[in-house]
């Protein structure tokens, strides 16, 4: 056996000891050379064969898929909104600008309560808004949120669009904005 072959086998032994028997995992720069060695040398094939059983043992593990709860949580996260985002796209709703949303809700609430304020001796009305009331707060470059009350929902909570819900949510049910914001 030549010195070159001895060196090649030593390198193959080191590579296989680190990366295993599957040549796809071997360093790309050495893969072709070592594959040629494998084809030509019974000693090389014996070296690789010794590592194959560990590869097979490691392959017994199956990792879990992400839970539906995690997937739902991540896909509900608020995204940043750039200036060139659609300004009035159907179904588009961001919950990021909580401050603006709260301001919108407050504006609607104050306006509605002022409009429906009873006479001093009259009964206090239930603070609700009629179906179809839409309030928007438009800043310099974006619409922050639309509050759509599809039924006589209590003022101050945003009724979500149908596509905004993850599994387990109920369309039309008021939600807490804090629930869908990631915890810092």
């Amino acid at each position: 056996m030549t010195d070159t072959r001895i060196a090649e086998l030593a390198r193959l032994r080191a590579v296989v000891a680190a990366y295993g028997a599957d040549s796809e995992r071997w360093p790309a720069a050495e893969r072709d050379t070592l594959r040629a060695l494998l084809a030509a040398s019974p000693d090389a094939r014996a070296i690789v064969g010794d590592e194959r059983s560990l590869d097979r043992a490691l392959a017994l593990l199956d990792p879990p898929a992400p839970s539906e709860a995690l997937t739902a949580r991540l896909t509900r996260w608020p995204l940043p909104r750039a200036a060139d985002a659609p300004r009035r796209g159907a179904g588009i709703r961001s919950v990021m600008p909580v401050t603006a949303a709260a301001a919108a809700a407050a504006a609607v609430a104050i306006g509605w309560l002022a409009w429906t304020a009873p006479p001093d001796d009259g009964p206090a009305p239930t603070p609700t808004a009629p179906a179809g009331v839409v309030a928007t707060v438009e800043s310099a470059d974006q619409i922050d949120i639309a509050i759509v009350n599809t039924a006589m929902a209590p003022i101050g909570v945003a009724a979500a669009q149908p596509g905004d819900f993850a599994e387990g949510d109920e369309p039309g049910k008021p939600f807490d904005l804090a629930e869908v914001l990631p915890v810092e």
Binding site: A17, R56, L58, A59, P64, A65, L70, T71
Partner: protein, 203 residues
Amino acid sequence: MAPRPALEPHTPPGLGAASAEPTDDGLIARAGRGDRAAWNALVARHLPDLVALGWYVLADRGEAEDVAQEAFLRLVRKVDTWEPGGAQLKTWLHRVAVNLCIDRKRIKRAAREPLDSDAAMSVAAPDALEAFDRRRAVARALRAIPERQRAAVVLVYYQGFSNKEAAHMLDVGLEALESLLSRARRALKERLKHVIDDIGVAP
């Protein structure tokens, strides 16, 4: 040839499969403009691998999901400033996740089995029980080696990264990566001798 672990990402329910295969950079750019579908596609594409990475390294599904969530949280903060053509998203996410895993001080070494207990209950035949025992032995052996060695094995063996990519994620040179892998496999062989012997005589 040893069976190679599946590297194809799972598709979470309700997200659908992307047929046009948009690039990560393209999806990030759209997500940065508030495109929910693009963000969901990124989640569908990379979340399974991140959870798997965390599960292999931390041996705990709950902690694995925490790590994956934290990695995506860091991504969502970057989507509007992400520079296309720079770091590959998959490599970037895995590097973040690996560091999160290694930084975690709370490694639950014996609290929870990494294998799904339902899987244990669902098998009844002796062959299946034997297979479950082997899987449990592999999980325990993996859990027993040092974290950086484990991370190296997970990145190269289970997740199919090249030696250069794995070295970059672990912030080590190629020789150091090879050393981590060699020591890991040597330790695993010692711990899994009975499993390897069984597999060796299996048809």
